[in-house]
Subunit: 182 residues, 2 copies
Amino acid sequence: MAYINLPEGLPGIRGPMAFRPDTAKHLNDLAEVLLRADNTLTRGERELIATYVSYLNDCFFCQNAHGALAQHYLECNMKFIDTVKENTNDALISPKMKALLSIAESVQKGGKQVTPLQIETAKLLGATDMEIHDTVLIAAAFCMFNRYVDGLGTWAPKEREFYINRAKSRAEEGYANYNPYH
Amino acid sequence: MAYINLPEGLPGIRGPMAFRPDTAKHLNDLAEVLLRADNTLTRGERELIATYVSYLNDCFFCQNAHGALAQHYLECNMKFIDTVKENTNDALISPKMKALLSIAESVQKGGKQVTPLQIETAKLLGATDMEIHDTVLIAAAFCMFNRYVDGLGTWAPKEREFYINRAKSRAEEGYANYNPYH
């Protein structure tokens, strides 16, 4: 049972989004620009940043929903996603992505935890100003989404298959005009 | 110097907002609904929640910009705002507001830090489901805004007067269609 009287049967963020469509609209529009619109970071890479931050914030719903989307876009298995979350340095991702995930990890702890050396390293490895900006804002946004989902005491399906089975249609549907009842 | 090449002369969140208008639009639309649109919580009360969370996140720009707005709406002095930030229990605010600020404080630490007892207390003191929802989302949103501002290494004017002098016009202007160059 969530802490407030949310529409029934909707897991994770879908309950609060159905409860308050006026805020859901802008949350979804933000997610669309950050995670799905044209970008030099692929959709898979951006969902991976979202997944990693949600894991660090221990948000079960978000790390599984976005982890399944990352897996769909990157055409990998969930073991790869787990390695990125739990042993980032061992993951088969580019040095630039490791540098961006390191920045995201610092943002998760607090804005002031990001260091000039982390930024310099990311730039040396090819990250553009826009990619650094978007990494910081994706990480910051998931510090919001994760707190929204858990701060209202929402429930989430335990089985990974639930999230994996929805990933393809969620990827096609996108975030803008998202209907939480679907 | 910010970590990336932001438009010059714009303090705090205004630099990143001018750098990336596509995300700024949705951030501002979200702020408009949460902090300024019709609500049973006054604009002053909602800016107070934003200020308190920004203080807990040690974000100098946000706690001063929103503290000045709270002071403007509540027609109080900055000493009152400082008491709410530093000694919340001693502040002359309603028991319901204290309960909502306590929920916001937990959200700042992490979504799972909110307890059923905090929610029950807020409800006993008259908080509605919508007020609890909005408190959680305002607190979560400022965990994003604060990280966005500090994670990109932006600068901020040191003098309180800067923020106080801008509060009246900022209150009138609102967040929707906000121009970061003004």
